[in-house]
Amino acid sequence: MRQRPALDEAEPGPAVAPSADAFAAAHLGRLLRFAAMVSPPGADPRDLAQEAMVRALEHLDRFDPERGGAEAWLWRIVVNLARDDGRVAGRTELLFERLAAHAGPLATASAETAALDRMRDQELVDAVRRLPRRHRTLIALRYGAGLSSPEIADLLGTTRMAVVKATGRALARLRKDLEVPS
């Protein structure tokens, strides 16, 4: 049985479970950013961040470094918890929208870039929170949690390509809501 090292014995690295303080300090900011994006209007993002991190810390001694990084393990807890309280969409709901995605080069419009640069982080986060659940789930996982498409696909039980396409649709919806010139 793997034991969690004492705090002053903890060392960084893949083979050692992290200390609670270091783990919380390293991930809580990103967890809050994810929670702020994925929580619908009226829900307190801190509830999700607090609950998820406490669950992670309570189980730090069960974390098996050989089965994956501590960070991946944390996000699995987060997504399961958020799914359980209805903040994130499940796989079925994510794939529900079957509109064909239009391939093609995307214009990097300077007007859009300029408009987005003027926009405050808070305005963007608020817009993300107003998205339908399936869209904000993907935006929050990618730009709040900072996960890659393969990592999101692994968490949601789908393919990388499905995640890319669905994220594209989520961005299109967000762009429409923001009415950013493109």
């Binding site: 702020a36 609950e51 810390l57 359980d84 859009e112 982080d121 963007l124």
Partner: protein, 327 residues
Amino acid sequence: VNTPVREEDLARDPLAMRLARIAEPPVPPELLRQVLARRRATRPARRRRARTIVAVAAVLAAATALTAMVTPMRSYVGDLAAQMGLGRTGHDLAVVSGGGQTIRVTSGVDDGWVVILNVRAEPGQRDRPGVWIIGKLTASDATGHQLESMGWQGNQADGGDEALAMFRRPPDGAPAGSAITFHDQPLISSPNRQDLNPAPGPGWTLRVRVPASPPPTREPLPAPGRVAGVDVTFVDVRASDRYVVVVIEGTGPGEQEIGNVTGPSALTDPHGGHVPNMAAIGFPAEATPGGDRERWEMYWPRQGTGTYHLVVGSGLGQELHRDLVIR
């Protein structure tokens, strides 16, 4: 609209690049302290399709997410109880103790429309990580009929846990003001932490008698409206000395669309002040010829008489505004 379908398209999308630059918010020291103390958040997770009670604290609904993050945790149950005139008086309606644990019903409402019990547990969950001291709450009346559970919301405060538990007396049951047998079965997290199960032991049983108070009276119904593709009908508006309750039905293409409209609602009092939401109870959607129909019952502490302003928000930037005349 060109929708990115390749990873490299996403990487080049100006909106995606801007989203990737959103800074991590500062971690409030209080939140870090709570996390390191293994202090759980205020509510257990609930399945969306289950009958739910959703606390939509007004300050949180009105404030932005990041502002909320730096707002110190408040005892919103205590605030709501105080606004309804249910603050602690030192005279509990019922109390039971044993093994170092005390459960109190400090005050309540029993008016024939709803039963509200203000419950406090000392010590609280903070001292027993993984255990919800205030857990599955049930109640029965003097004739043995179960009261309909409408859910509860709670938080940690002053070294204990506190909750507002809401029930409805059955139509053929005992009248308001008669004795209620209230039971709290603590819950414990399952080994995989995904479910809450009854903790070993009999739990806590209290016999409570809340003095009967006048039931809420009907108030004028606002006109129906339509927002974000959802038809909103006001089924009932009532007010008592303690609270205002609004019952609305949303009919639309799906439960999610209806929830987006009916869930985030806000109330402003006659003086323009924001009224914190006490409870928003969503009932499972029913299929109708016009689409899914879902009923929501929302409660706010009463802030006097006059014209209140209700905003039914779509969550998509569209809102339905209606005045509520509370006499």
